[in-house]
Amino acid sequence: MECGNYKTNYSKDMHLFRIPRVKLRIFIIVLLLFLLPLFTSNYVIGLATLCAIASIGAIGLNILTGFTGQISVGVGAFLAIGGYTSAILTSILGWSFWISLPLAGLVTAIVGGIFGIPSLRLKGLYLAIATLAAQFIVLWAIGRFSGLTGGGEGMVLQRPSIGSFTFSSQTSYYYLCLVILLLVTIYTLNLFRAKTGRAFLAVHHRDVAAQIMGIHLLKYKVVAFALSSFIVGIGGALLAHYTMIVTVELYSIDVSIQYLAMILVGGLGSVFGSILGAIFITLLPVALGYMIEFLTVYMPNAYSLLNSFQEFVFGLVIILFLIFEPGGLIHIWNNIKTYLRLWPFSY
C-alpha cells in the first residue's frame, strides 16, 4: 500500500512516522488529548491524569520488561522511591518541584541500576524474585527511616508552581502530566530506532549473539534498569504530587502486579501498547464500579456480593487477555486499522 511513497533519502526512510496518514492520525489524537478539558468534567480529567501517570510508569516498565526482556516485579518500590524522594526534597528541604522531579528520577535510576546488577546472572523467574526483593527492601527502608519518611503517617506534598501560578486545578495538573507523557513517549520511540534501543532488543532476543555484536551485556542490562527506573521514578513523583500524600500502603506488591498487567494487556515491547494498557487497567475498576452500581438498582441486595466479585473480574479479564490476545491491545488496534484500511476493498 505504501509503494506509491518512494523513500527519497535514508533520513526520511527512518522517520518516526513514515506515512503522512499516520502522522495526521497521531496529531489528531494528541490534539484531542489537549482539548479534553474543554468538554469533560473535573472527574474525568482526574481519571485522565491518573491514566497519563500510569502510562508513564508503564512505558518505563515496558522498556525493561517488554523491550529488554528483564522481568521486574518491583515497580511499586520504584514508584515509591520517586514519590518519597520528591516528597523529601520539596516538603523537608523546601526545594523546587522542578529540580526535585528530575532528581526523583535520578535517585530511582541509581537504585534501579543497583538492583539490575544481578540480572547478569539471573534470568526469568529468578530475576523476578530478585526484583521482588527490591519491593520488600525499599518498603522496609521507608518504614525504618521514619524520621525522614514519616513512617506510617506518610508525608504530605504540595502541587508544583511556576512563579505565582500553582498547578492546583485538575486541568492544569492534567496538562503537566500530559506534556511529560508526551516527552517520555517521544524519547522512548526515538530510543528504539537508534543504537541503545536496538541493543536492548538484541539483549532480549539473543544474548549470546548480542555479545558477539560487541554488546556489553551487563552494561546494557544495568542501563535498561536505570533508564526504566528513571521514568518510573518520574511517574512516582508525579503521582505523589497529584494525590499530595505518600504512604507505604500506596506502593504495595499489588501496584507492581497492576503495572505488569498494564504492559501484558497493552502489549509487551510497544510504547503505544503501554499507554493503552495503562488506560485499560486504570479505568477497569471504575467501569466495574459503574456496572455494579447499575446492577444494584435492579438487585439491591446483591451489592456486597457484586462488590466482592470486582477483583475476581479484574483477574479474569487479564487471564482472558493472556489466553486470547497475547499480543495485547496494540495488536487488536493494529488489526482494526488494517481492517479499516482495506475496507471495503484494498486500494
Binding site: Y10, S11, K195, L201, R206, Q211, I212, M213
Partner: protein, 257 residues
C-alpha cells in the same frame, strides 16, 4: 606472510569430553583459511574459543600478537573479529536493516541520551551507518528484503543475512561457521563468490567452516583438519590431501578436486 591469528596448544573440556585436544595452527593475514572435520570434531568449539564464548582449559590465542583469551566476547568484537553462526542467530522479529545495523554496534557512539533525543547527533549517525549498511546490502544482494523481518525470510536468505551482519562490522577477520550448509550447488557457488570478494574487495581475512570438500579445497589457502578434537592435518589443500592421517579419517570420501 603476517600471521593475524595464532592458536597455541588449545584444549577444551566438557566434563570428560575433550572437545579440543592440544590444537595449534595459525592464520595468515589476507587468506581464506578453513577448518574441516566430521560432525562433532570441534570446529564450532574452536570458533567459540576464538570469539570468547568458551574458555579453553589450556593454551593461548594470539590476535595480531596479543593474547586475547583474557578478553570478553564483546571486547574481541571491538578488535574487528566478526562471526556468523552455524545455527542462524539473527534477531528474528527485527528487519534485515536493523540486524545489519546491530552488526555495526561497536562502530556507533550514541548513548541512551543521544539515542533518545535522536534529532541531531543520533540521526546523523544513523544515516551515516545506514549508508555503510546499504553497501553490505548491495554486496550480498539483499535490496528487496531490507525492511523484511528476518524470521519471514527463507532459510537461504537468512544464512546470507547472518553473513551480512558479520560483514557490517567492517571486520579484519570474519569467522563463517558453515555459511553454505543446506544450500544447493548454485547457491554455494554464489556464496563462494561472496567469500572470495570479501577477501579481494574488502581485504578481510576469512575463517571458513564447510563440509563440501570440493568447495573448501577450491577456496582455501590453508586449512586445518580436526577429528574428535584432535588436529590431524594442517597446511595447504595439497599438503592436507596427501596427509595419511587425513586420508584415513576421510576414508570413503572424495579427496580429489
Amino acid at each position: 606472510m603476517n600471521k593475524i591469528m595464532e592458536i597455541k596448544n588449545i584444549s577444551l573440556q566438557f566434563g570428560g569430553v575433550k572437545a579440543l585436544n592440544d590444537v595449534s595452527f595459525h592464520i595468515n593475514e589476507g587468506e581464506i583459511f578453513s577448518i574441516i572435520g566430521p560432525n562433532g570434531a570441534g570446529k564450532t568449539s574452536m570458533l567459540n574459543c576464538i570469539s570468547g564464548l568458551y574458555k579453553p582449559s589450556e593454551g593461548e590465542i594470539h590476535y595480531k600478537g596479543k593474547n586475547i583469551l583474557p578478553m570478553k566476547p564483546h571486547q574481541r568484537t571491538k578488535l574487528g573479529i566478526a562471526r556468523a553462526f552455524q545455527n542462524i542467530a539473527l534477531f528474528g522479529s527485527m528487519s534485515v536493516l536493523d540486524n545489519l545495523k546491530l552488526g555495526r554496534h561497536t562502530l556507533m557512539k550514541s548513548g541512551f541520551i543521544k539515542s533518545g533525543i535522536y534529532w541531531g547527533a543520533a540521526e546523523k549517525e544513523e544515516v551515516q551507518h545506514r549508508r555503510k549498511v546499504e553497501e553490505v546490502i548491495d554486496f550480498l544482494q539483499l535490496q528487496d528484503i531490507r525492511h523484511t523481518p528476518v524470521d519471514k525470510l527463507p532459510y537461504g536468505l537468512q544464512k546470507r543475512v547472518e553473513v551480512g551482519r558479520a560483514l557490517a562490522l567492517d571486520p579484519e577477520l570474519i569467522l563463517l561457521d558453515e555459511p553454505m550448509a543446506g544450500m544447493n550447488a548454485s547457491e554455494k557457488e554464489e556464496m563462494s563468490r561472496f567469500i572470495l570478494d570479501m577477501l579481494e574487495l574488502k581485504n578481510i581475512t576469512v575463517v571458513l567452516i564447510e563440509h563440501d570438500l570440493e568447495v573448501v579445497m577450491g577456496l582455501s589457502n590453508h586449512l586445518v583438519v580436526l577429528d574428535f578434537g584432535k588436529q590431524i592435518g594442517f597446511g595447504t589443500p595439497k599438503e592436507v590431501q596427501q596427509n595419511p592421517d587425513v586420508i584415513k579419517a576421510y576414508i570413503g570420501e572424495e579427496l580429489t578436486i
